[in-house]
Symmetry: C2
Subunit: 166 residues, 2 copies
């Protein structure tokens, strides 16, 4: 239902290059996995050698109306960025809907262009449009540059982010 | 679909009293809101004076198969604890499903009984049963006692938790 409110594909305004944000399709999975694996912290966790578990996960994301898996493409159509948005209903804060952002990645050749910030601003606008009361994300404590990036966008590091691996 | 794997109601093992964990129903909403409002940090944000927005949120949670809004009841049937579990599919970590825990509250008269830990252990077992690769939550940096509680349960405060209020 919330998809009706979302206008995609969307042009992203950056300091120079033209990028487009759109929903990921199954053909993008290998490229998204490569973006995850290229990341310093993701390098040991992800690899596009066997796509089967990723395709299965893509289908679960795609089937869930609370999820938006998005990709940013450069002018030539190449996928150079990704993020996943999850709408989470809750009772707290007068029954607030919240938007959670996971797995934000930008290809290293397209950093410092303003693309990441444009993606995040789109996500924040989408959260506002769909009636969310807050946007939340966690970022590994080792990613200090990312922390400054999120603070510049208006996020407050008010919480401890706990993880338990199973 | 995942609900088929979940065995509820479940008895919770604590150091003394007998508690039961079950899915919340609409008749529990006022009590859950009272638990949220009794919390120091939630006191200014939540109130059971007007239940309408909470009932609407409850229905959204209830309709979403990725959500489990749970309550713990004492031997007399009173609701004395609550938590919300969200299953989030993702591509990272070889297409891992993750479980997110939000809005964990225990009535002050039932703290230090082991109830909170028993609720969390149930959530972790449920995450494992449903194939999650990790469990995650954020906790306000002011809640230092809660942080020790989560660390005792095996959680690592590896991430910064960012929030942006809209």
């Amino acid at each position: 239902m919330r998809h009706d409110l979302v206008v995609l594909p969307a042009g992203l305004t950056t300091r120079g290059d033209a990028y487009t944000l759109r929903r990921a399709d199954e053909g993008d999975v290998a490229t998204i996995v490569a973006l995850l694996a290229a990341d310093q912290l993701g390098a040991t966790r992800d690899s596009a050698d066997d796509l089967a578990p990723y395709i299965a996960a893509f289908r679960a994301i795609h089937a869930d109306p609370a999820q938006q898996l998005l990709v940013a493409t450069a002018a030539d159509g190449d996928v150079v960025g990704t993020m996943q948005l999850t709408a989470i209903p809750g009772l707290a804060r007068r029954g607030a809907l919240r938007m959670q952002i996971e797995a934000v990645r930008v290809h290293e050749a397209h950093r410092s262009t303003g693309l990441g910030a444009a993606m995040m601003r789109w996500a924040i606008d989408d959260a506002r449009t769909t009636g969310c009361a807050l946007v939340q994300l966690t970022s590994d404590k080792a990613r200090t540059e990312a922390h400054r990036f999120y603070e510049r966008l208006g996020f407050t590091p008010s919480h401890e982010g706990f993880k338990l691996m199973l």
